[in-house]
């Protein structure tokens, strides 16, 4: 028995888990419908895939949510996991699930996949015969991902950085790397059974004034860490910045560099896709404006040529959306994408050059670290502040980089902290910034956070 398999047996032996029948699961995946694989969909369709967010505690409510989504023309279904499960607290999740089932009140903010188990969940997934994407935010997602794959969920979101630095205050980063290494390995293994499992990184990070250079670096390293373990289909992602041209530039650069670095590391056979998140920052407290924001961001997604778009709802500022609001957004995004035609190929050479330089400068610093493995290099880069995410709640994050918006609402680096970018790149960034006479940086930041409100 391989080392990995021994680990898997331990991980899946858990008091909240029914016996894991690895053979049966392998047989299931081998004969699973191609329709369940988003990697297959990417190969066979040119259309931008539309995926909402959403999850409820009970099987019935998720089932009804999926029905609503299907009616709205959804391409990819989400399965969002509750926060107890994310923290591996299956006992609480079990209790709350029972309460939710008895009282018809939601006591969990997502689907407790461990407690439902793969035998039950698979029924739903195969019933809808549509790709499902696992949305969680779990630093230790080993059991969760086993359960997801066994259920027929063939896209796994997350990564050691993107699901940690924006989502956690003090979960140890080195552990996160090792737990995700396991996840990558299992995904790679399953990818040999049928169509590839698709892994997706979470580019929005803290969703607040994130500089594209840092977002791209993190996308690239999570991609490399995944491909290194044998994953063959990977989606890099980012979220709407607030400036149309910055979105376009970010997309052009990330597409180019993702391919470049994948090839550089010998992963010529890996498929790489681009996912665009609709505005992830603070939404307006006005549902009609939120509708407009959702449509405008759909137009931009089409312009940047994303392979998948992840949608928001008109309820975003208020709270967790109803299934109706969620389906409404899907239908409206599908309509917009269907109607939008004649999209121009846009670019801005100077901006693309500068962004490319910054990403390459940081990547060089990361890769030149003395550690023996890639994950350790990345770990060190974060510790050194070479990778530094504004508005991360995590204690390991340097929190020295400060970003503000220029007059076009492009996000610019005002303080570079320990970012290993060249003076030239930094000067370019600074040259775009305009502060009004007497305007304080903090007031500008507050304004810049609220641009969509």
């Amino acid at each position: 028995m391989s080392l990995l398999q021994r680990e898997r047996e331990i991980i899946t032996q858990n008091e909240y888990v029914d016996h894991f029948d690895f053979e049966e699961i392998e047989a299931f995946v081998k004969s699973a419908s191609k329709e369940l694989f988003i990697s297959h969909r990417f190969k066979t369709s040119d259309a931008m895939q539309v995926q909402p967010r959403g999850g409820f505690p009970t099987y019935e409510k998720v089932f009804r949510l999926y029905e609503e989504f299907k009616e709205a023309g959804v391409d990819v279904l989400p399965l969002t996991i509750d926060s107890n499960t994310r923290l591996n607290d299956y006992a609480t999740a079990k209790k709350m699930l029972a309460l939710s089932e008895e009282n018809d009140v939601d006591m969990l903010n997502g689907y407790p996949l461990i407690n439902h188990g793969y035998r039950t969940t698979r029924k739903m997934i195969t019933h809808f015969d549509t790709p499902v994407s696992l949305r969680h935010g779990t630093p230790d997602a080993r059991l969760l991902v086993e359960m997801a794959l066994a259920s027929g969920i063939f896209e796994i979101e997350g990564g050691p950085i993107t699901y940690l630095l924006p989502y956690s205050k003090n979960f140890p980063l080195d552990k996160a790397f090792l737990y995700w290494k396991y996840v990558e390995k299992v995904c790679a293994l399953y990818s040999t059974f049928n169509e590839p499992i698709n892994r997706e990184s979470f580019g929005p990070l803290s969703a607040t004034l994130q500089p594209p250079a840092i977002v791209i670096v993190i996308q690239l390293v999570e991609m490399l860490l995944s491909l290194e373990e044998g994953v063959k289909s990977f989606s890099v992602s980012f979220s709407q910045t607030g400036s149309m041209i910055q979105d376009v530039v970010t997309a052009n650069v990330i597409k180019k560099l993702a391919r470049h670095y994948a090839d550089m590391f010998g992963h010529h056979d890996a498929d790489i896709h681009l996912v665009y998140h609709q505005w992830m920052g603070a939404f307006p407290y006005n549902k009609e404006y939120s509708d407009a924001l959702i449509t405008a961001s759909t137009v931009i997604a089409a312009m940047v040529g994303a392979d998948k778009i992840i949608t928001k709802t008109r309820n975003e500022a208020f709270g967790i959306p109803t299934k109706e609001a969620n389906a409404r957004a899907v239908a409206s995004v599908k309509y917009t994408l269907g109607m939008l035609k004649g999209l121009p190929a846009v670019s801005d050479e100077e901006e693309e050059e500068n962004l490319t330089s910054m990403v390459n400068e940081i990547m060089e610093a990361v890769l030149n670290d003395g550690a023996d493995t890639l994950w350790r290099k990345v770990f060190n880069a974060i510790k050194k502040g070479h990778i530094d995410i504004p508005f991360s709640p995590h204690v390991i994050n340097a929190n020295e980089v400060i970003t503000i918006r220029d007059p076009q609402e492009n996000i610019r680096i005002l303080e570079r902290g320990k970012l290993p970018i060249s003076d030239r790149s930094f000067a370019f960034e600074r040259s775009k910034i305009r502060l009004n006479e007497g305007e304080r940086v903090v007031d500008k930041i507050i304004k810049d956070i609220g641009i969509m409100q």
């Binding site: 926060s83 903010n109 989502y167 607040t208 407290y285 208020f318 967790i320 709640p393 903090v442």
Partner: protein, 135 residues
């Protein structure tokens, strides 16, 4: 005046928290920011340790109710000044809620000032007026 602040429960929405710290300082308060992901006991410990005048809790992800319903019981286990102002704000419900129902609920839990989906500065203005009125 000393303020203890932070985001309650497993909530990691840090943006408002950062702005709150800055705004409080600007208004002349001494700030002890416990950051995100802070449990109720930690807040109460900090009031005692710092002899704070105000506890300002944020909650964004909908967990507020779950964490705050036992505040009264917990308060009894601590000894601190009677006039500490308990304040909470952010997004206090799950899904879309009626603010008129939420505010009395949290007042019952033992908060003096409750702000559901209310702008920070409006909340801080109210706090300052409240402090003046009760001075």
């Amino acid at each position: 005046m000393k303020v203890v602040t932070g985001v309650v429960g497993n909530d990691i929405h840090v943006v408002a928290n950062r702005l709150i710290e800055i705004s409080l300082k600007e208004r002349g308060f001494t700030v002890f920011n416990l950051g995100v992901n802070t449990y109720l006991e930690e807040f109460l410990d900090a009031i005692v340790e710092t002899d704070a005048d105000v506890l300002l809790i944020s909650s964004l992800n909908g967990e507020a109710e779950g964490w705050c319903r036992d505040l009264q019981i917990l308060k009894k286990q601590y000894t601190f000044r009677k006039d500490v102002v308990f304040m909470i704000g952010g997004n206090l419900g799950v899904g879309e809620m009626d603010p008129d129902a939420l505010v009395p609920k949290f007042k019952n839990y033992g908060f003096d000032l409750v702000f559901h989906q209310v702008d920070l500065n409006v909340g801080l203005d109210t706090l300052e007026n409240y402090l003046k009125a009760h001075a």
